[in-house]
Amino acid sequence: MTSPLLEIRNLHLSMTSFEGSAHVLAGIDLTVNRREIWGLVGETGCGKSLTGLSVSRLVPSPPAQYLDGAICLDGTDVLALSDREMQALRGKRIGMIFQDPTTNLNPAFRIGTQLIDVALAAAVRDPAVLDLGPKAGRGERHRAARALAIRMLEEVGIPNAAARVDDYPHQFSGGMRQRVLIAMALIGRPNLLIADEPTTALDVSVQAQILKLLKQMVVDHDMGVVLITHNLGVVAQTCSHVAVMYAGTIVESGPVRAVLDRPTHPYTKALLDAIPARNVQRGALRGLPGSVPNLITPPPGCRFAQRCPLAQPSCTQKPPHKVAVEAGHMVACPVATQALENANA
Amino acid sequence: MTDIATTPAVARTARSEAMRRALFRFRQSKLSIVGAVMVFLVLFFTAFGGLLAPYPEHVAGGVDTANRFLAPSVGHPFGTNELGQDVLSLVMAGTTVSVAAGFAVVLIGTLIGTTVGAIAGFNGGWIDEVLMRLSDLMLTIPGLILAMAVAAALGPGFVNMILAISLSWWPGYARLVRGEVISAREEVYVSAARAIGASPARVLFRHILPNIVSPVIVKMSLDMGFAILTVAALGFIGIGVRPPTPEWGTLLSISRSYMPDFWWTAIFPGLAMFLAVFGFNLLGDGLRDVLDPRARR
């Protein structure tokens, strides 16, 4: 049996700060295969970005400390790799895109320079990236990297790429810059793409274009994607699967249609209730009462229990187990799954 | 659970909490403590250096030609100079002149600069324009040369030297204070004070100036060292305080001619100067971290 592209198992992460040590990721499980786009949704601070950054080991340590678990990329645990081995995976095996396209490109360098450096770094690990033999000279490699940069820019839809490769970032619009960043993330031919809120800073019309481009790239490059977002609309539009996070835990996950059409966990339901839609009555839109628990002294049981409408005394005793309510659809709430079983029976 | 920050009791202690944290940060930085100790010693000698000097008669200008150029020994730890005076006594007494002059320069510079900056920032318009162009202009004139020219024209002497240096010292403060006043003026609490009918003077003195004290104090402490250096520089060139008043720069300039054989006559005044300035700079650096967190890197 081949191992999945990305398999995060029981990941626990703590962060030390002035006030104490916070248990910010408490047992994350996530499996991503090629051609899957996983949406990772949740409120600000729920740990979704930390999960993404952990895959590339970009969370500075200290203050971060991995307490338990594994992050396996094609069966290799990246947490066990040396810094040098990890660096070789970045850009080559794992591509990343971040939220704000205006600050993620270096303003002092031409975009071509930045693309070429990423391509050359990837080619150190795998000369095939540039379609060159291992003996190719410096000039030859540079020329090949530049040609590849132009090809990638064309691929992500930058018009007149051969001329624009020598422009500076400020000469592009926000949407175009995000396309440049996608080209940069994909130039080393990674199998896994982590996209951290890639469309949040963009106009709605541009958002749709970028998401469409991402979907296209998944097919073209045979990739798996983790798409981190707080926008369920983006998830519905783009993702094949979704994992809902709350306070450092995944409360519900599964195929996107199953989770969004048949939400089971009370937090997922609350999240869906908070989305304005055309056919919702005035006044029906509900926020969620209460606030996210303090993670320095987290509640011992279910982290959502304090705000949960279904909470039972037993919920605060121990962390809830995940139960499959249908094929691949996992829910971490014994009360809700029990209720569902009773209803079906 | 309610939001902690809105609890009234906690809000009241927020200020003392901030003070506590500032003190904590200051104590954490060992260098600032070293600086504070050095500054304390310097201030101690400023006050008592002349009194504690082992040979007070030498400080007053007495000479002892029989004991010229004695190398450092138990009786004269820093040796004696070309007039047979005890170098340790001169260095101790010299602290008073250098530190007092440096402090006077910084104080005068701060007073003038703060006034100019506050007027410019508070009034805005053409007054601001004129005052700021003037301070920019003063900043393009090489300060040391201006001070030298003025000191030479006024003639030697303690007060003249201080006036000459202060003349080029204020524009930095004017710029700093103006910037702070302009940003403080826009703050909500000032608009609020105006809205309830406070007079402009009251707004300036009660609401704006108290908030710019920290950056000014930080700049003053960082400037102390440079003011001491400038005072010594004028003495070294020969335009500052004249002997027999002991002053580090003057001492250094005279003993130059007796190097390398009688190196102690030059080394000790120079070291005293360096250590005093070093202490003020270490302290100023620590104070900046504590009082002006925005400037922290």
Partner: protein, 335 residues
């Protein structure tokens, strides 16, 4: 770009007018008796009056200023009342010496300060960083003239490795004046022995001069490097597999240097005005020494002119820095 430069150059003019007016007023309004000093201790009142008339010092101040200002436009910097020499001639002799010293010191400060600051930032909160920040504070606390004396004592008097002072051995013929910089002139004429000699004389004063700017540039570079390392594009570069070395020395360095440039511009002016002390210690025949002699003699034409030249160089340096800033930082260039 061109428009930007022209605009900045035009703005220099009022600054220079203001500067000369201030220096003129200060130098003439203060007590003191320059004419008496220049005419000599035994001069009679009539002789002093004649002396004043000869140099036009009996006329109203504004007339004297007008004369001086219009003279400046023709490159006439007035006449010294003490030596009766043309100030312009003196400046032509002394300015290159000072510039050579300042450029050497600044080059030293930049070449050492920028990498040192970069490394301090990379090793943040580890011992190289602590060491560098303590030495930086020590360096700016060190009086330049005392450092100069110490260097003289060790390297010239005790070890006798380097000359005690001056710009060139008195008995040697200095390199032919092309640029006025002895080091460059010696190289241009192929006089390598002369070049070595000029460098040996330049070494100690340049070191004494460079220490404090070196420390400031280093700290500025450290601060701006730390700031740049926090930027999103650095995270992206790391996330896409660029090596730490490439990120720091290529990407971060360029962004951090542009912030440091401003300090270098300010320091250039500060050093021009501050050569006085180092020139005094090392008998370096430059503007500072010239100004000191003129100041002691209350000979004000040279003083005003030296202030004018330094002010002019200072403002020019800042324009050059702004242009360089645009070259390094393309975003500024287009705005």
């Amino acid at each position: 770009m061109i428009r930007f430069i022209v605009k900045r150059v035009v703005l220099i003019i009022p600054i220079l007018i203001g500067l000369t007016v201030i220096m003129f007023v200060i130098s003439r309004m203060l007590p003191g008796d320059p004419v008496g000093l220049a005419a000599g201790p035994n001069a009679t009142a009539a002789e002093i009056a004649a002396y004043a008339r000869e140099f036009g010092l009996d006329r109203p101040l504004w007339v004297q200023y007008w004369d001086y200002a219009t003279g400046l436009l023709r490159g006439d910097f007035g006449v010294s009342i003490f030596t009766r020499r043309e100030v312009a001639q003196d400046l032509a002799t002394y300015l290159p010496a000072t510039l050579e010293l300042v450029f050497a010191a600044l080059a030293l400060a930049i070449v050492l300060g920028i990498p040192a600051g970069l490394l301090a930032a990379v090793y943040r909160n580890r011992w190289p960083d602590y060491l560098s920040s303590v030495s930086a504070i020590a360096a700016i606390s060190m009086p330049r003239f005392f450092l100069g004396l110490l260097l003289q004592l060790f390297f010239a008097m005790w070890l006798m490795w380097l000359p005690l002072g001056g710009r060139f051995p008195i008995i040697w013929e200095p390199p032919t004046g092309i640029t006025g910089f002895y080091t460059i002139d010696a190289l241009l004429t192929g006089d390598f022995e002369g070049f070595a000699m000029a460098c040996r004389h330049l070494a100690l004063p340049a070191i004494a001069m460079s220490l404090s700017p070196l420390a400031t540039i280093m700290r500025m570079m450290r601060a701006s490097t730390l700031e740049v390392m926090q930027q999103d594009y650095v995270t992206t570069a790391r996330a896409l597999g660029l090596s730490q070395r490439l990120i720091i020395f290529k990407y971060v360095a360029r962004n951090a240097i542009s912030a440091t440039l401003t300090v270098i511009g300010l320091y250039f002016g500060w050093m021009l005005g501050g050569t006085v002390l180092v020139e005094t210690v090392f008998d370096w025949p430059g503007l500072g020494l010239y100004a000191t002699q003129a100041i002691v003699a209350q000979d004000f034409m040279p003083v005003v002119s030296v202030a004018f030249v330094i002010g002019l160089l200072f403002v020019t340096a800042n324009i050059v820095i702004d242009v360089l800033y645009g070259v390094i930082n393309p975003k500024v260039r287009y705005e």
